[in-house]
Symmetry: C4
Subunit: 122 residues, 4 copies
Amino acid sequence: MIGKKTWIIPDGFLQPKSLGEQISHEAVCVLNLSNENAVVKLTFYFEDQEPMDQFQAECGSNRTHHIRLDKIADLQGNLVPRGIPYAIKVDCNVPIIVQHSRLDTSQEALALFTTMGYPIEQ
Amino acid sequence: MIGKKTWIIPDGFLQPKSLGEQISHEAVCVLNLSNENAVVKLTFYFEDQEPMDQFQAECGSNRTHHIRLDKIADLQGNLVPRGIPYAIKVDCNVPIIVQHSRLDTSQEALALFTTMGYPIEQ
Amino acid sequence: MIGKKTWIIPDGFLQPKSLGEQISHEAVCVLNLSNENAVVKLTFYFEDQEPMDQFQAECGSNRTHHIRLDKIADLQGNLVPRGIPYAIKVDCNVPIIVQHSRLDTSQEALALFTTMGYPIEQ
Amino acid sequence: MIGKKTWIIPDGFLQPKSLGEQISHEAVCVLNLSNENAVVKLTFYFEDQEPMDQFQAECGSNRTHHIRLDKIADLQGNLVPRGIPYAIKVDCNVPIIVQHSRLDTSQEALALFTTMGYPIEQ
């Protein structure tokens, strides 16, 4: 089984400002090499408020899903808040591999960063 | 034996647009510290289509190869598609170390990101 | 228990120059998934002077804290020096997950980088 | 003992072009938490030529050293070549922690990337 069922990303932030053609965003990029459909649950942790834990996405077997955090909504239709720091926990029913990337277009030119998530041993 | 035979990179994307002197691209950077020639197989996974698994590159003993994903073609001559998200699995006959980097020149100035691949234990 | 109590970040630098709306800074981003309040101690190592080890921050249970290194002061009121290279050791009373990011706005447009900290096994 | 004695960085490149106030460069950032002086040996691997293995730097106990790859010279006075891809192996007499970063100022604004090195288990 390739990958882990839980991954952590401490540095999340949706830049409120965008310049140029591309919108500032983040993506949680998942690869599912198992034989089953992956149900991916995202929990967002904040500095001064309770976690939001009703976000869910899917990823088919032998498929990738670059989950856009500026687009995903939870079961009540809430979006991930822009302009405040958060951290992310990714939980899945099957082992997956998780990478997190940010695109920031707030200042004349775009900036990018990425890192593998931190895998949790079961 | 230094390195692993399988590595995963969930966040792949070839930016279609380039400005300035440098073309937007990605590279899978391999170091081969074994005594044998390395045959590197790349499989690309997508969100809505079957994987492409006929890409191959080489890397000599005590050599590096920064495999350009905007240039590599598969056995049928297909290129990696630009403008859609993908993930990458790297398989090799010998242990290697893999890092993945992106150069994006779509908006007035270049942006860079990099991460080590996620190594799979055998 | 998710995470580790000690993390290392070798590449720290507070860019002295800032252009545009955002100030150049770094953040040590912490997620605390334990049931206790986290007391986070930061030690800064330099190339030519003794370490500074009197910096402290907190992070509640099920909270994140993106600790801004341009704002934190030690017990004597000293700031992290700008314009010289440093490395960081993060120690905590409970297991946490640590990521480090830099925002540099010194040259017309912002630049970003990030990496997970290097976790120390206990 | 915190850290490892050998680290790998597959993606090295010294951008030949620089614009603005800062020169394009890379740094191998080392933290030495041992009680001894660290002697750091750097080997550079290329795509089409033999490795260069006569580069050496030092890092004191409880000190960091951000080794600038655009400045270091080997025992014969050779510099790391600009404009061609390379990979780096870092070997040390004591355990250290290694991070690698690139600053690119070739196109109107700077770009940054970073990653932890890949640690080799002994």
